[in-house]
């Protein structure tokens, strides 16, 4: 599944488009990560645990989006946008959306 965040796929021609596809996931951190983050609050530095968590979540959201595109018969998703928001204490929603197209 080709994914771009511009209006086209460079070097290919869009022949058909199917509409919007979206993928989202809601993830919570667990107790252990919270404690490590609390410690890092003292010394500063990258919160590796959280970075990994959000990266995994973003990948999962993109996977869901491309799955939906595949079901529509598309082979590329263009003009992708991301959004992150917190939906509950300690949980964040990762969201990706784009237009499903068929390119040749």
């Amino acid at each position: 599944m080709i994914m771009t965040n511009i209006g086209s796929v460079p070097g290919k021609k869009i022949v058909e488009h199917f509409g919007i596809v979206q993928g989202s996931t809601v993830r919570a951190k667990h107790f252990g990560r919270d404690m490590m983050a609390g410690l890092k609050n003292l010394v500063g530095g990258e919160l590796k645990g959280y970075t990994e968590l959000l990266q995994e979540s973003r990948q999962e959201a993109m996977d869901r989006m491309s799955e939906q595109a595949r079901l529509m018969g598309a082979n590329a998703v263009v003009n992708i946008r991301f959004a992150t928001s917190s939906v509950a204490q300690g949980a964040a929603e990762l969201f990706a959306y784009g237009t499903a197209v068929r390119v040749e």
Binding site: S24, F31, A88
Partner: protein, 159 residues
């Protein structure tokens, strides 16, 4: 037995709310999804893209901003699931239908607005989600979720 109930009133009320939340919440969710799917099928002809449109000169009659939004709140049972999940981490499955419903409904409302105004397509769609509600930023509580969809609706000059 009545003494037992009054003695542990807060626990009893909690369980009652969970049961009410689960039953009413499930019914409401199913109903909403049915309505969403029906309307999506009706409005599917209205073209929607996230790309910016490129239009030939003179092809466009008019264009205007359209938007649709919805605020959903979770039921008590799902809130309990989220709190428990917060301890172990991982996917908060209880919230997925919540944001999904909110967003699809927001898109539908935006499409409906565009259709009533006679648009043929919507370009440059953007979607935003935020938490609102009195308890949104307090610890250990769940706010309501607002989903917003907006884009540029375009009315073409039909030849």
């Amino acid at each position: 037995m009545l003494e037992g109930i009054f003695g542990n009133l807060d626990l009893f009320l909690f369980l009652l709310f969970v049961v009410i939340g689960y039953s009413c919440g499930t019914i409401a969710e199913k109903r909403h999804y049915k309505s969403i799917i029906k309307r999506e099928k009706e409005l599917i002809k209205l073209m929607l893209v996230t790309a910016e449109g490129r239009f030939a000169d003179g092809a466009v009659h008019e264009s205007f901003l359209v938007s649709g939004s919805m605020v959903v709140s979770n039921d008590y049972f799902k809130r309990l699931l989220a709190i428990l999940r917060n301890f172990f981490g991982g996917r908060v499955k209880a919230y997925e239908p919540l944001v999904d419903r909110a967003r699809r409904e927001a898109i539908l409302r935006m499409k409906e607005e565009a259709k009533t105004k006679g648009a043929h397509m919507i370009v440059n769609l953007r979607l935003e989600t935020s938490t609102i509600g009195r308890s949104a930023n307090k610890k250990n509580s769940v706010g309501s979720i607002e989903a917003l969809a907006y884009g540029t609706a375009v009315v073409m000059n039909r030849p």
